[in-house]
Amino acid sequence: MKKSGAEILVECLKREGVKHIFGYPGGVVLNIFDTLYDEKDIKLILTRHEQGAVHAADGYARASGKVGVAIVTSGPGATNTVTGIANASMDSVPIVVFSGQVPTMLIGNDAFQEADIVGITRPCTKYNYLVKDINDLAKTVREAFYIASTGRPGPVLIDLPKDVTAGKTDFIWPQHIQIRSYNPTYEGNKWMIKQAAHEIARAKKPVIMAGGGVILSGASKELKELAEFMDIPVTMTLMGLGGFPGTHNLSLGMLGMHGTYYANMAVQNADLLIGIGVRFDDRVTGKTASFAPNAKIVHIDIDPTSIRKNVRVDVPVVGDVKLVLKEILKILKEEVGKEQWSAIRKSWLKQMEQWKKERPLTYRYDEKIIKPEFVIEKIYELTKGNAIICTEVGQNQMWAAQFYKYDKPRRFLSSGGLGTMGFGFPAAIGAQFACPNDLVIDIAGDGSIQMNIQELATAVINKLPVKVAILNNHYLGMVRQWQELFFRERYSHTYLDVVPDFVKVAEAYNAVGLRATKPEEVEPVLREALKVKDKPVFMDFVVDWREKVYPMVPAGASIDEMLFEEEKKEEKKVRAVK
């Protein structure tokens, strides 16, 4: 029996195990939406903006490890997905986006709602397709899911002209997918692995720098084993948080521009840096010429282009992080016993403790005004570190990375590479669909939350208990911080004169709105919010606008040239994070 293109598409999605699709309808995708209308196994979640749909699919993928899916219409529907796709591309998130397209015979005619979305998204997708023949549809969908989820994952877009989804043909499901020009390297080169193991064995002052690749390849267990077996301290990039337990005594927390003093000092003084699933982004390395100046660098990554792109590498290992770590561990365990290491590392680990004592992550508690770090600390305390934390971008993101400890992977969802304001809230919605029994909290700023605030409707209609903690300082805080430090306090266009009453906004959408203006109100507001199980909650925390994110490495400086909060003489209460 012949099936329509729309039916074939939905059948393919079912076979790929898709349960949730985030989308927004429109003229040329009517056939698809009509087919989904009767579909029992797949739930389409209507967002209120296509960007929200793609971020939600992204959050869904990050939280679950499965491929996230979004469907949008042609023209503006498709162009609205670009930020979401670029975001997923930078952070290697597997998503498949289906965009409608005008009928094949009209392509190129500047038809109504026509946009060359394949052309537009070419540089920000892992791959993209325009399906011109309905007989290619099933194979294309199969390939798209395969490409998105294998190797270094990433977004794939499929453009579907209206006549392709409306036409009819026989459904043939390709059993096997083989793409001759696409063969990711999973097994690392044996010789290189051996070199890496030997460097690790020889090093006196090694540091592991773990990135998003650890989480993507599911290598947390192997990483922990390696660190513990060899007594190597571990620092994480923003994308790597949760890849290694943040509460572990070998954890140095995050490194880089807003990394901890001890993480940056460790990297700068190490004799061996083991980069695992990282790409040495400029926010991590600072000035590359003086990055890890005394260290040999071992770099393990599945993407060969990551290697030697930004920093010199002494031992490159291309392969899947999990498989490579297993091999390294095997060599280390078979060739040398554990006892030797502990002796060699003792003074190095002691140095870590000293740095941690010297300059712990701190902020000044204030009894009159809420400090944003205090809010994060309270969230950590009340959720016992078990929540899925999404963030927007800016100060809120950095504080969430610094003051919440992530012990498990896929618990910290943040826009790392692209730095997309407006990511956190829709991502939280996606994460809540992926993990319905988990507590999902978006840590936001008053600027960022307004970038996709319309998704409140999506959360309300689906009865999602997503919590949004808005650190409301009436400023675009991170930019303001730079203006204060580097632009003589000229706050050009960073003051958000009119910030809506977030409590009323929440209530207008039939969600719950709460507000705290004093430090003692923070905990009651959070407790109240955590009680709500069937609605989203906006928590408006009116925080100290002067607060800055520290430590901070100024742009272009080495990562050990950190700025710290000035000490005040009259200071009594300096609170350190446990």
């Binding site: 394949v118 052309g119 070419r122 540089p123 490409i147 020009s181 060969p304 030697r308």
Partner: protein, 162 residues
């Protein structure tokens, strides 16, 4: 350093744009690019001449390899190979120079592919040096039009790096 890189790709629409987009998006330089089908109509071959230091060339070849439609990348810097390029030159020599131009074309094993009352169109094939030399000579006789195909390259048989 200047490198000649040959890229075997799937012969699909949009592939050229993926390759050229990679170069423009990452700020790499293309000196010349030629594309054509291979014996297998599903596969095309591109020959790209580019410049960059070792680190850039390494990135270029890796980034090319990373593209889904790219089947194989060969940097001819590492391989003993032959390179050829073809140019068409339209010259308008003065009456007294005509024989000289024809003689030079012959020396360079060029062919006259068109001739009119005022101009000759000469086809020259060869490596870069030969072409440069010929073009230099012709400049003195008044080049009216000039077009080149871009370089193509092929590895020599059975050559292995010592």
């Amino acid at each position: 350093m200047r490198h000649t890189i040959s890229v075997l790709v799937e012969n699909k629409f949009g592939v050229l744009s993926r390759i050229s987009g990679l170069f423009s998006g990452r700020g790499y330089n293309i000196e010349s690019l030629s594309v054509g089908e291979t014996i297998d109509p599903q596969i095309s071959i591109m020959t790209i001449v580019t410049t960059g230091d070792d680190q850039i060339i390494e990135q270029i070849t890796k980034q090319l390899n990373k593209l889904i439609d790219v089947i194989k990348v060969v940097d001819f810097m590492e391989v003993d190979h032959v390179e050829r390029e073809m140019v068409l030159v339209k010259v308008a020599p003065k009456k007294e120079d005509k024989t000289e131009v024809l003689r030079l074309a012959e020396i360079f094993r060029g062919r006259i592919v068109d001739s009119g009352p005022k101009t000759f169109t000469i086809e020259i094939t060869g490596d870069e040096k030969k072409i440069e030399a010929f073009v230099e000579l012709m400049k003195g006789y008044g080049i009216k039009e000039f077009v080149r195909t871009g370089k193509v390259a092929m590895a020599r048989e059975g050559v292995k790096k010592a």
